[in-house]
Amino acid sequence: MNNHESKLDRELHAHVAQQVEDYVAAGMSRQEAERRARLDFGGVEQVKEECREARSTAWLSEIARDLRYGARTLRKNPGFTAVAVLSIALGIGANAAIFSVVEALLLRWLPVPSPQKLVQVNMFVKDHLTDSFSYPVIRAFAARKDVFANLGGYSGNPFTVGPPDAPVLTPGAWVSGGYFAALELRPEAGRLLGPADDEPGAPIAAVISDGYWERIYHRDPRAIGAAILVEGHPVTIVGVTPPGFTGAVVGETVDLTLPLQALAQLNPGGNASLGPESRWNRTIARLAPGLTEEQALARLKVIWPTIAPLGVSPQAPANFRERFLNSYLVLTSGGAGWTPLRNQYTKPLYVLMTISALVLLVACANVANLLLARATARQREIAIRLAIGASRGRVIRQLLAESTLLASLGAALGLFFAQFGGALLVGMVSSTIHLETGMNGAVLGFTMAVTIGAALLFGIAPAFRATGFGPGEALKSSERNTGGARGRLAPALVSAQVALSLLLLIAAGLFVRTLRNLENVDPGFRHSGILMLDFNARRVIPNDTQRIAFVRESLAAISQLRGAASVALSNYTPISGGYWSQQVSVNGTQAPEGDYPFLAVSPGYFDTMQMSLLNGRDFTMRDDLTAPPVVIVNEEFVRRFIPDGHPLGQIVSAVEGKDFKGMQLVGVVRNSHALSLRDGPRPCVYVPYFQLPPARAGFGTFEIFVNGSFSDVSNQVLDVLRPRLPGSPLSTRAFTAQIENSMRRERLMARLAGFFGTLGLLLAAVGLYGLLAYTVTRRTGEIGIRMALGAQRAQVVRMVLGGALRLVAIGIAIGLPAAWWASRLVGTMLYGLTATDPSTIALCVATLSVVALVAGFLPARRASRVDPMVALRYE
């Protein structure tokens, strides 16, 4: 570069020298000749600058020079640099952290060949979209080679592996015969499962993951062909999946994969899970070669009426059958796998993406304002550069290089924040999911794009402003009088910040209050002080009579424990995500469309859970299989289905199947939130645990109302049960934790929206403070004159604060309609308030105004302390 410079210098000097010689030859004095030659040539520096610019390849070295120059300027202003970099880092960090979760949960391709060609089949039953199909339907799909080259069904499932005395719970999956073919995976060793493995009577084959092969077998090739015990049955390992592949369920590791058909042999009652109405498998498929998605859908539309009947039992109620047979299929992208979290979190994550983008905008406005202020301070320097021949474009480029440098520093720090933030976020989404949210190509690419966008956003306007005056003008006037460089842009930026932070605050207010409303919901049962323990004795005690005896004995034994004030048992627990529901009839009349939650509970359940019986009696230990079937329902059930007000003695039956028929209603309990805190009251049906069909009994949850220490009771319970259930995973938990778990999504939104709202408010306050402080400095002279002419301090404070409030008012006037428009997008995520809740919005406006007043008060007070004499002398 320096070489270039010196050559350019020599070339131009040669020109002038030649001219001088010619003038001398023409008879001029040397002195006169030199003067004329220089005049002829004009501005040497300007010509040089233009020559430099003419060299297009020089841009790289010029950018390097710009960056070096920028770095020097930033180093010279550490305070400015720190504030700007921190603002950007918070903005970019927030975006990168949330994007890393979006990428991991929603966008990341499975590690298989051409994942973008994978599709998932979904079904619309009435208006309800489902992605789960029963096994017969999946087999029928897979057989249609004219639509699907290959199609497989799959579902995650933990397996117990090893001998009964030392079982290990191993994460795994059930898959149908076409699964691996559809994924087009190549085995790391041995072979993968194929259609032949998924036929009735086929020897049970299993595929293990590369990680499992490494951990358990140390990559010993003899693992292939080895027999292992799964659920107590011998199973042969036939192959290993390639490294990196951990199943198609996002965030879950699959170490052991078994064909669905093996379910019939491995689990008692497994056959039912392969029946027409057990819709629990997701699909993954590749279309037949050359087929577009539209063509495939057209063919599916034709063949679905022949397949659909396989997915509904002939005994199903007519209206249900009809609804199912009138369903239709849709295809979605399957290459990113499947996770139940997507249904719950897609919208919240995109809302959070939007919120973090707003934070970044507020941060950008802040930095733009800082740059504007500094451009004013640097006016002289820029004017000199323009005067000695730098073009405006050149100086703008220089200033933009500085912004890019700022943004990049911010991005680097932001990525550092994001690294922790991403992992923290995943933990808030789910405690069981394992997602790599570290830096990867997608996240880095996204961050780079955001960084460049941010640099341009906050850099361009100040750069144009800073260079938007003639050099002469800037050089002549002093810094104070050319504050026009900030002009109307700076106040506009502050108003924009106020508007954006109002949006953020309102979002925060809505989500925080949603969480508070949910926390304040009366669930209708006691939740603190309840210890829960899940158990499943079906494998360890296969004999029905022994197993039910074990459950009775355990219930009695636990109730004797020190600190167990009250004990009960149920097959599911409220607000756990898992439930059982059936269609019901009362006195032979089917209840209106829909199925209602059923719960099998032991005597004492209502007492333990503090659900008051309003009418009739509780179950007793005598309500067992030898006694006539009885049932308890809740108030809502009575209100909806037994309106004459005499519920006791009515006959309630489940519509489908052969169980739960002719149950006599013996009691009515208070309404409670059985499935979710958000629900309104639902009709619920309670049946005695000991009247469950034996195949359905033997698993469930003990609920213990603890009077004393949780850990003490917990240890005693485990001591009682462990010897009886060798090898079964047993652990206890507090019911409150389960209820809190059900509010995970709301807590995530409340915390993040709250955090971002505070951040936006702070940034806006800094922006407002900065602008006012600057204005006061610039107007010191004017304020001095006003005070000299008799203005009171209070008047000066009012003047400055009035200016601040005007900006805030404009911001609020813009922010409110924007919030009104945007809040409709989050309406369905709220609980107990509408998206335009007036009190929340009023509170946000008030908070914002108070913070603005505080931010404005400091500069205002400084203005009021201006000593007129000092100010005027300064002038």
């Binding site: 040669a14 020109h15 010509v47 233009e50 610019e53 003419a54």
Partner: protein, 111 residues
């Protein structure tokens, strides 16, 4: 239109430079002088346009440059036409020719 000491039409300067150095290597001062002489003092090339144009043409590979000594024994940067520059000159000359003829034809039409 070029008037005495007037500005050159955009893009014309490049063509003139290419043509001027087509006869042999010249340094910047001589290029300006040649253009002035040949155009009979009609076309004045300002240094502020000449040197950026030379550097631009060199950068685009239309001119080759090397350092040499002038007749007066002074060190100077000499520009000469590259192969690419020759082709460019031919093309632009043809275009210019066509354009000039077209404009002339229009100017010749009777009113």
């Amino acid at each position: 239109m070029p008037t005495p000491k007037g500005d050159l039409l955009q893009g014309t300067l490049d063509l003139l430079i290419l043509k001027t150095v087509a006869l042999g290597p010249l340094h910047g001062y001589l290029i300006a002088q040649r253009i002035r002489q040949i155009s009979k003092e009609v076309l004045q090339v300002r240094q502020g346009s000449l040197y950026p144009a030379l550097h631009r043409l060199e950068e685009r590979g239309l001119l080759d440059a090397e350092w040499g000594t002038t007749e007066t024994g002074r060190e100077a940067k000499f520009y000469k036409l590259s192969r690419k520059g020759r082709a460019q000159l031919d093309r632009e000359t043809a275009t210019w020719d066509q354009m000039a003829r077209a404009i002339y034809a229009i100017l010749q039409t009777a009113e």
